[in-house]
């Protein structure tokens, strides 16, 4: 191969290549979303110009979406292993050992671009795709969770998008019979033209279930296509998702896939059945870039070759070309490798579930993928060239120091005062409870089946979703993370918080966070500020994952969340899975009984004006620094304290601070009285802003009123784990209103009215 000459040719801009005129060449690069240097690299790898179908193969597998070309150099440094991790990156999902023979697979994935273009199908197929990543490994899906970021309710099309996304998630998840047990929904103007739809799925392996991988092996084994027929939907979807939106996003509707949850349900049952019978050598779902990515990745990972007959692929439309077939992203399809002698038994199972299993090729010794079309060899190519040799970019970035720091809280004290104007402080609280950013999401969660599977112990009305592990009678907690307003304050703190806050929420219910999956939603990586935030947030995330020994085991990166040059808030969403020894004494999240003691567990050191400051003034400030190791210890201490037998309820004090958290706890009818003296223990200045500022981290503990001494003794032991932690008694439950010193008094009824009516006020037609 003549590396030098081919490189030099590629760099001569404006020249034609591969028998094409300069103009045709440029047009072709544009169609296939490749640039000239990538073209040069392809020529280097092949030792010649790409021809025919090869353009499409490189276009798909070298897309940002498939190749992670802008992020790979940074992802390599992620904390990704612990003694519990059985499978990390590189497979369809990560797998964690729970002990007692049980293991879980889980992953979160974005479906942002399709959901903006076609909300219902975009969201539905996001759910379908993430489920396939789980059951393709042999795990039965047991829980779903959705992380959603929408624009302002008044943004163009936003009502329709919210409605479509929610219906799509429900329409798919409810039908396949996997409960949606938790979620998070954010609203901000930066998502006006680019919403985020991130779906997470969790699957369970029981004692005798084997983990299946995508690594193809066994020369002479058959390559089998299973599931729905291939249609024209989603052709070029992967490269569409790797581009920013312009004014023509509606014209991209044909690149959207159409989902069929009924087919998926049949696929789940039949795939798990053939795996149970051990009829499968390797298996992978056809996701982004469809048959191309599944076949090339399976061959590349296994170090073997495939001989594929594209004319054998079951088609919905007989006029489809080989390129259409290779790049179609039709849903509910799987590719598997089986021994020839097992094919009959395997296809009988699929037929029983009304699905077709078709042999489309064989595993070969020579490490190339041969693509045949009615007797003609279209190409023969080393799969590693497409899977392993995509370019890796070190996009320019800057090391970011602490952002938006101030030396005094006056910045938000004044800000909140001016925003209130004549409004009293209870007015500010109810306005936040009514605000789309603070109001009830029941409209959304009511549309998701959260109990199918008969294992849900805590559902979408709680801060942590909990499912029971039937065989061991233990509990699995699932929670999502990333608070975009903290990302806007400081991306390193925001990245740390994206793991720390949900881990804290798990700890408050007695769960140990085992591992993390992340979905890194960012803008255009070719812009330095976007890349700088990417690097800073990963750094923050990494520090807390290491401190908690909760590795990042799966996920995806979604760049180019940019519309008309405007980037979204950098949003590294996360999904955490935690384990608890039993379901006994699981703390509530509300005030449910009178006369109980209210405490605040607190880690001093970092405070911000918070979301309330941002809403009021457009800016956010903070004092202090957040250290991953200190936070890790604090979370461990919080977990230990939540296991004190006197604990009745717990809740993290999160966005909008203390008053908002307390009012959420009043929604079940029992109120609370917080003493002025109590407030002084947790706030140096007892003023109105003190009720809304955000302390990283704090939680409310509700404790049996008769047994507070024992609880305080228990805390002494907690201090061994978390020396920095403070515990202060601030009040008691009771009455029918929320009273905070002399600062605020609001009836539970008014709080509830505000919290439940806000949605309808923001989305009139969705009430």
């Amino acid at each position: 191969m003549d590396r030098g000459s081919s490189m030099s040719k590629a760099t001569q801009a404006g020249e034609g290549r591969g028998g094409l005129s300069a103009q045709e060449f440029q047009a072709k690069l544009k169609t296939y979303r490749l640039n000239e240097s990538e073209y040069g690299l392809i020529c280097d790898l092949l030792g010649r110009d790409p021809k025919g179908i090869e353009w499409a193969l490189f276009s798909a597998l070298w897309s940002e979406h498939c190749s992670y070309k802008s992020s790979k150099v940074h992802l390599k440094g992620l904390f990704n292993t612990s003694k519990r991790v059985l499978q990390s990156f590189g497979e369809n999902a990560g797998v964690v050992d729970l002990g007692e023979g049980e293991r879980v697979a889980f992953k979160i994935e974005s479906h942002n671009h399709p959901s903006y273009i076609e909300p219902y199908q975009g969201a539905a197929t996001g759910v379908g795709g993430i489920l396939r990543d789980i059951f393709t490994m042999g795990a039965r899906p047991i829980a779903l969770a959705d992380y959603l970021c929408f624009g302002r309710p008044t943004a163009p099309r936003m009502t329709q998008i919210v409605d479509g996304v929610v219906r799509g998630i429900g329409g798919y998840g409810n039908s396949v019979g996997v409960p949606t047990i938790t979620g998070q929904t954010e609203f901000h103007e930066s998502y006006d033209g680019n919403v985020l739809v991130n779906a997470m799925a969790v699957g369970l392996f029981r004692k005798d279930d084997k983990v299946f991988l995508s690594k193809a092996k066994g020369v002479g084994n058959w390559v089998v296509y299973v599931g729905a027929k291939t249609g024209r939907d989603g052709v070029h979807g992967a490269s569409m998702a790797s581009e920013s939106f312009g004014a023509d996003s509606a014209a991209k509707r044909p690149t959207i896939q159409i989902g069929d949850p009924f087919f998926e349900k049949l696929l789940i049952e039949s795939c798990l059945e053939v795996m149970k019978q051990d009829l499968v050598v390797a298996i992978q779902d056809m996701g982004a870039a469809g048959l191309t990515s599944s076949s090339f990745e399976m061959a590349s990972k296994g170090g073997v070759g495939f001989k594929l007959h594209l004319d054998q692929v079951p088609l919905r439309d007989s006029s489809m070309t080989p390129e259409d077939i290779l790049l179609s992203e039709s849903q509910e399809r799987m590719l598997l490798v089986c021994e020839p002698g097992q094919f009959k038994a395997l296809s009988e199972v699929f037929h029983r579930w009304n699905l077709d299993a078709v042999k489309i090729g064989e595993v070969t010794e020579k490490k190339t993928v041969e693509l045949h079309w009615h007797g003609e060899l279209l190409t023969e190519i080393d799969p590693d060239l497409l899977v392993e040799n995509a370019p890796q970019y070190k996009r320019p970035y800057k090391q970011l120091g602490p952002q938006n720091r101030v030396s005094s809280r006056q910045a938000w004290v004044d800000g909140l005062k001016s925003a209130q104007g004549a409004k009293k402080i209870d007015g500010l609280l109810t306005s936040l409870l009514r605000d789309v950013r603070g109001t009830s999401r029941k409209f959304i969660y009511r549309q998701y089946d959260c109990r199918v599977g008969a294992a849900t112990a805590r559902g979408t009305s709680d801060s942590v979703g909990v499912v029971r592990l039937k065989d061991s009678n233990r509990a699995l907690g699932v929670v999502l993370g990333c608070r975009p307003h903290v990302m806007r304050l400081d991306p390193r703190v925001g990245g740390l918080d994206a793991v720390a806050y949900p881990a804290f929420e798990l700890a408050l219910k007695g769960f140990e966070a085992l591992a993390v999956t992340d979905c890194l939603n960012f803008g255009n990586p070719e812009k330095e500020n976007v890349m700088s935030e990417f690097v800073a947030s990963l750094d923050g995330m990494n520090s807390i994952c290491a401190a908690l020994e909760a590795p990042i085991i799966s996920g995806n990166v979604s760049f180019y969340n940019e519309t008309m040059g405007k980037n979204i808030t950098s949003t590294p969403s996360t999904g955490l899975v935690g384990l608890r020894e039993s379901l006994d004494h699981l703390p509530e999240s509300f005030f449910t009984e009178e006369g109980q003691a209210i405490y605040v567990l607190k880690q001093p050191g970092f405070v911000s004006g918070g979301y309330a400051q941002e809403i009021a003034t457009g800016t956010q400030n903070a004092i202090g620094e957040l250290d991953g190791r200190v936070v890790g210890d604090f979370i461990r201490g919080a977990r230990q304290l939540s296991k004190a037998p006197q604990v009745r309820a717990t809740r993290a004090i999160g966005k909008f601070g203390l008053a908002y958290a307390l009012s959420r706890m009043c929604l079940e009818g029992v109120g609370a009285v917080i003493d002025h003296e109590g407030l002084k223990l947790i706030r140096t200045d007892v003023d109105q802003a003190a009720l809304f500022e955000e302390h990283f981290y704090e939680a409310i503990f509700v404790v049996d009123g008769k047994d507070t001494t024992a609880f305080e003794d228990y805390f002494t032991a907690v201090r061994q784990v978390a020396p920095i932690a403070e515990l202060h008694r601030i009040g008691r439950t009771g009455g029918t209103s929320l009273v905070i010193g002399s600062l605020l008094e609001s009836s539970n009824k008014d709080l509830k009215t505000a919290y439940t009516s806000g949605w309808g006020e923001n989305f009139e037609s969705l009430a």
Binding site: G177, P261, F262, G453
Partner: protein, 220 residues
């Protein structure tokens, strides 16, 4: 009497394993073991002491909820069993299938709000069933979860009058989540051996699920 309980399974049924486990959980008191019944196969109508049609989206709920499942071979055997007096319980999609099969009166259509509804509902027992939840007294309350998009029970006026006159209304909602006629949540046939409801008793068996009012539905 047979010591077996049949649990029907259609393509798209998704509460099948939940119901199967609920029946299994009741074995210590009933002594009757569950057995799968596959949609494509006929079965011996005499061989089972009770039949369960679990919820889900049989055949994707395409055409109409329950319409395709109602025409499957296994449903012909369900019909025979029902005629012989075997107790049959339909839950959610099972209710829809029994209506589509003509084994129960009325029909289930899209919820009044045109959206899927997942929630806990308060129910009142209008008329007791001799088999399912038989320990509950008429007029007593139960709290069960619902999760459905097509749960609004509809029936013509004369049909409703017959249901009410014959004591075939099984459960009613205290506050209907779906706009059902007369707040009906569950009905029975005239002989009362075929019964169905939209709420999911198999999701309310233990305190950790949020309620225990569903257990009597499997203690047959």
């Amino acid at each position: 009497m047979s010591q077996k309980i049949g649990v029907l399974r259609f393509p798209g049924t998704n509460c099948d394993r939940d119901v199967f486990e609920a029946v299994e959980g009741a074995v210590p008191s009933t002594g009757k073991k569950p057995e799968w019944l596959w949609h494509a196969d006929r079965f011996d109508a005499k061989a089972y002491s009770a039949l369960y049609l679990p919820g889900g989206f049989s055949y994707g709920d395409y055409l109409r909820s329950g319409a395709l499942a109602a025409r499957s071979p296994a449903m012909q055997s369900v019909r025979e069993a029902a005629e012989r007096g075997v107790p049959v319980l339909g839950i959610c999609n099972g209710f829809q299938i029994l209506c589509e099969a003509g084994l129960l009166p009325g029909a289930l259509v899209k919820n009044a709000g045109l959206r899927f509804v997942d929630d806990w509902v308060d129910l009142k027992l209008a008329n007791a069933n001799p088999t399912f939840a038989r320990a509950a007294a008429e007029g007593s309350a139960a709290k069960l979860p619902v999760a459905h998009g097509d749960g609004r029970f509809v029936i013509a006026e004369d049909g409703l009058k017959r249901l009410q006159d014959n004591g075939q209304v099984w459960w009613t909602y205290e506050q209907s989540p779906n706009g059902s006629v007369a707040d009906i949540a569950g009905v029975m046939n005239e002989k009362k051996n075929v019964a169905a409801l939209m709420p999911h008793p198999e999701r309310a068996l233990y305190a950790w699920m949020g309620g225990t009012d569903g257990s009597g539905f499997f203690d047959v």
